[in-house]
């Protein structure tokens, strides 16, 4: 079964290379030189989502009571805290790292294997870190925007980080019993998607062109995350504020 996952990764890489070879269209965004390939992959992911993942997530949300879903989310969130802590340390934030390890220790014991998030109540805040952000903190630029097969929006830097590094920091990967491990993978995907159902409905409503809306949101979001929510303010060259100021309709 582990081989299946490796196969899946190889297949992903193949799909990407195939896609890259097939096109060189650009829509004008300098961050997205691979727009032709990316749009194709975006709609591929979309159809996988529509056909399989979203319906299952909706069913899951309809059937499972809220407290049980929260428990499942907490469980996976807890597993992620160690890797988040390691990345905080790598980014030169040992205090945050210790807080993350503390969260893991508290939630794994008092929180019954992470089902309850008692650490948040105790004032240890959940963080959002991964190796892509660590590289960004170290000064590595994000590179071109890339839509990964199955995994969705990413960049050269973040895609490399997810496939080559974060993957190794994933505790689920270390679960010895193969059927259990695959079950965990499956449940985690559904849990993640279920938590995004509201967001994806909003996206559906808000976007004129979903592809470019998601791309813009991803790029801005990652930049903000690399700076832990306080990116240096960039002057907006296109803020041609003519005549609009003061008028308040």
């Amino acid at each position: 079964m582990k081989r299946n996952l490796i196969m899946l990764r190889r297949f992903s890489v193949l799909l990407m290379v195939g896609g890259l070879a097939g096109c060189a269209t650009t829509g004008g965004n300098p961050d997205d030189p691979l727009e032709g390939y990316n749009r194709a992959m975006f709609s591929f992911n979309d159809s996988v989502d529509k056909a399989v993942i979203k319906p299952v997530a909706q069913g899951y949300k309809a059937v499972m009571p809220g407290f049980a879903r929260t428990g499942v989310s907490n469980f996976f969130s807890n597993l992620g805290d160690v890797w988040i802590g390691i990345n905080n340390v790598l980014q030169g934030k040992p205090g945050d790292g210790v807080s993350d390890f503390g969260r893991f220790a508290i939630n794994t014991t008092m929180g019954i294997l992470g089902l309850l998030d008692v650490a948040s109540d105790a004032g240890l805040e959940k963080h959002n870190e991964d190796f892509g952000q660590t590289l960004g903190r170290w000064g590595v630029g994000s590179g071109a925007y890339v839509v990964l097969p199955f995994l969705g929006p990413s960049s050269v830097r973040d895609g490399f980080s997810v496939l080559a590094v974060d993957w190794h920091g994933d505790p689920v990967r270390r679960v010895g019993d193969v059927p259990t491990r695959n079950e965990l993978y499956g449940v985690r995907i559904i849990d993640t998607r279920a938590n995004l159902l509201d967001a994806s409905r909003l996206l559906e409503e808000a976007a004129l062109d979903r592809y470019s809306y998601v791309r813009g949101a991803f790029l801005q979001r990652r930049r903000s995350l690399v700076y832990d929510g306080n990116p240096p303010r960039e002057p907006d060259p296109e803020d041609v504020d003519t005549g609009a100021q003061g008028s308040t309709r």
Binding site: D198, L202, L208, S212, Q220, L225, E238, A244, T248
Partner: protein, 207 residues
């Protein structure tokens, strides 16, 4: 009688002076408390009654937004290409789209807590960012920042940045593409098509 009238006039003055003088962070906090207080109590809104949410947003939130500035920001370098009539149409359509998104986001509110960070601004500033954090146990907090400018009628919001993503400038790419393909009128048309396609579920946001 004259005293009554003058008192009335004074109170009007006081009210309008109040709107201008409220500090930007106090203004946002007042609106948030108001809106969340209502959402928490209103059963229809809790059940997802979008019409009622739209009405709430209309009354409490919209007066404090500068949609002309928001539209200009989203248009970016294309804004000067639009004539006065086109600008009016763009502002109306973009406003309806943003309002719908905003109401939609409100309808997913559960029991998040909003925290305000201290405002970093000098007394004479006319452009400030009000920083807030939305907290839910077990999740990393999400920041919501309001870019605000001082106008003769009080502080107005001209951008909302959620988790680092500007709800306004994030439209620039698609606006650009639309204008390149079919001009300013093409953009107006796709915006109004988009708004109309959302109408059946949404209700009364169009004006």
């Amino acid at each position: 009688m004259i005293r009554l009238i003058s008192a009335f006039c004074l109170s009007l003055l006081a009210a309008s002076a109040g709107a201008e003088d409220i500090a930007p962070d106090a203004l946002i906090k007042g609106i948030s408390d108001d809106v969340i207080g209502i959402i928490k109590q209103d059963k229809d809104i809790k059940a997802g009654d979008r019409k009622k949410i739209d009405a709430l947003v209309d009354a409490k939130v919209l007066p404090h937004f500068n949609f002309a500035r928001m539209t200009a920001l989203a248009m970016g370098r294309n804004w000067p290409k639009a004539n006065a009539a086109q600008r009016d149409a763009l502002i109306t359509e973009f406003r309806n789209l943003l309002v719908r998104t905003y109401s939609g986001a409100l309808s997913t509110y559960k029991d998040e807590v909003i925290e305000f960070k201290p405002l970093r601004a000098a007394p004479g500033d006319t452009d400030v960012t009000v920083r807030t954090q939305v907290k839910r146990p077990g999740n990393a907090p999400v920041s919501i920042d309001y870019s605000m400018e001082k106008t003769p009628t009080g502080w107005k919001v001209y951008d909302v940045v959620v988790g680092g993503v500007s709800l306004v400038t994030n439209y620039r790419d698609s606006f650009n593409a639309e204008i390149r393909a079919s001009g300013v009128d093409g953009l107006i048309k796709s915006l109004s098509d988009k708004n109309r396609s959302l109408e059946p579920q949404g209700g009364a946001a169009s004006k």
